[in-house]
Amino acid sequence: MAVDEAGPPAETGAGPEAATVQIGQGSGSAAALPVAPLPPGSEILAESGLANTVWTSRVDAVMGWARKFSLFQYPFVTACCGMEFMAVSGNHYDTDRFGAALPRFSPRQSDMLMVVGTIVHKQAPVLKTVYDQMCEPKWVVAVGACAVSGGFYQNYTSVPGCDKVIPVDVYIPGCPPRPETILDALIKLQEKIQGQRHPIF
């Protein structure tokens, strides 16, 4: 049974690649099964002939692994960054590659709130309501300088950062951020989700 373990991927917030487990390369089984990035911490059960089908892991790791690849987003699009957000959804950048393509315009069905654009005081209660309506687990991404800190709008109407209203997991700088930055933030969020506790009971 060949398990490709590149050392314990534990200490430094392992990405999915570090713990990739290749199965089906042992003696006897010639055909290699599709290589899937198993959750970090997974182990192949080598005994009793179940080697190719059963693996063990921790519940948190499996839940994190499942959740990070099925992020249903709620685009709370208000301003200019929304144009770049459209570009990210378009052909050139394509968030579908990260399992985060489907915008859910009902907060109850989504688990990633993307705050795209300036939040002003008139809008802030709406944002709070939308966030409260989302079911756990939920994550928030602040896209663009205005959502992060208010940007260069410092006046009577702009909220200096949406984290004054709701908690934020990932901050994306830029005015507006380039699409690559948004994709990088998505990968960062996936790493964070993988490392979190996921209580299911």
Partner: protein, 433 residues
């Protein structure tokens, strides 16, 4: 008062045109109509709230709609969910520093906003940009207009369920943005204009590549979109005869741009008051006939073709002015050459004053209008002689067009809100500023 002037009172048009104002509590005042042949049973009506965080409302508009069955019989439109204090910020920044704020007015076509602002400031200074600057500004305005129409139509078609045109148009828009970024440095918020000129010069290779993008990307994709939706039954059913506004109503409500032109009024600032180099190029102003959504779609598609035509006429003119200056030679607004700044005390002081205090136009007021992608984009500036504008007003086409949306909605179905709203092309940053 002269004899020809009427006295107060007896207004000619009733202000209840397009519905009667009814206050329904909690600060809501809807415009309500009573369809003919019905006994106006108010208890059968339903009030629903749409937005502001709703995909069809682009995140920044709230509508309270009164429904009779599925027919809209009352509507209150509440903007302001993206009011970022543009005018207050401008009053606290110099004329140069305010240029990035104008980027974020209509963020689908930032260059037109840039040029509108700096041309108004130049009007205050009573200077005229150089020939090459005017040509490049005209060229860039048209590229920007194309990206705006691509965004508007792509999003509007996606909201109707046609995802493929959205993907096509966003792809082309991305190519154009990256191409603008090659000369301005930013994809979306370009800040390309300067008072008295431009930030950077364009090259012949840039123009070659732009023409290449038109031929290889834009024109084929426009043809594909025409083929996909023009004769599509679902598309026609949802666009034709929906959101109709009459010519008189459109003029009374100050509607400009493609929405006005769809009603058959061929008004275009580029045509009747040519600014920059629009007087040197020939182009058509497409107009519609019925004033409905389908006409607006077609006006926008045709405008993109006209924009390509304008660009192609400008292309040899820009090449012919290669090497000419792109900024005016006027120390009141143009930064001196860096070499001068480091070797010459007058240039150093000039640089310092321009950066710290900004250009100081003489006292006065100026209104200058350019044809934005959604209509007349005007800037009204009042200068008190200092480096900060005393008053900076943007005449926003989206805001004024949105003020007439109840005329298009009352009496139609609730599902018609989506295409009507999409074809108005409300841009939050410009509508709410």
């Amino acid at each position: 008062m002269s004899a020809g002037m009427p006295t107060e009172g007896s207004p000619t048009l009733p202000y209840t045109q397009g519905g009667e104002f009814v206050t329904v509590g909690e600060g809501l005042c809807i415009r309500r109509i009573y369809p003919e042949g019905e006994d106006s049973d108010l208890s059968a009506r339903t009030m629903i709230n749409i937005g502001p965080s709703h995909p069809a409302m682009h995140g920044t508009i709230r509508m309270v709609v009164e429904l009779d069955g599925e027919t809209i019989v009352g509507v209150d439109v509440i903007p302001g969910y993206l009011h970022r204090g543009f005018e207050k910020e401008c009053e606290h920044h110099t004329y140069h520093q305010a240029i990035p704020y104008t980027d974020r007015l209509n963020y689908c076509s930032p260059l037109i906003n840039n040029f509108g602002w700096v041309e108004t400031v130049e009007k205050l200074f009573e200077v005229e940009a150089t020939r090459r600057t005017q040509l490049i500004r005209t060229y860039m305005s048209e590229v920007s207009r194309i990206t705006d129409h691509l965004t508007c139509l792509g999003a509007a078609l996606m909201e109707l369920g046609a995802l493929t045109p959205f993907l096509y148009m966003i792809e082309v828009r991305d190519w154009l943005w990256e191409h603008i970024a090659n000369v301005s440095g930013a994809r979306l918020t370009q800040t390309y204009a300067r008072v008295g000129g431009l930030a950077r010069d364009v090259t012949d290779e840039w123009l070659d590549r732009c023409e290449h993008l038109y031929v290889e990307e834009l024109i084929p994709k426009l043809r594909d979109v025409h083929g996909l939706v023009d004769h599509n039954r679902i598309f026609i059913d949802r666009m034709r005869g929906v959101g109709v506004i009459s010519r008189e109503d459109a003029v009374s409500y100050g509607v400009t741009g493609p929405v006005l032109r769809s009603t058959g009024v061929g008004l275009d600032v580029r045509k009747y008051a040519p600014y920059s180099a629009y007087g040197d190029v020939s182009f058509e102003v497409p107009i519609g006939k019925y004033g409905d959504n389908y006409d607006r779609y077609f006006v926008r598609m045709r405008e993109m073709e006209e924009s390509i035509r304008i660009c192609r006429q400008l292309d040899p003119m820009i090449r012919a002015t290669n090497g000419e200056p792109i900024v005016v030679d006027d120390a009141r607004m143009t930064l001196p050459d860096k070499k001068e700044v480091y070797s010459n005390i007058e240039a150093l002081m000039n640089h310092f004053k321009l950066i710290m205090e900004g250009p100081r136009p003489p006292k006065g007021e100026a209104y200058h209008a350019v044809e934005g992608a959604n209509g007349e984009l005007g800037f009204y500036l009042v200068s008190d002689g200092t480096g900060l504008p005393y008053k900076a007003r943007c005449r926003p086409p989206s805001f004024v067009n949105m003020g007439a949306i109840h005329l298009m909605l009352l009496g139609s179905q609730v599902a018609d809100i989506v295409p009507v709203f999409g074809q108005i092309n409300m841009i939050g940053g410009e509508c709410d500023r």
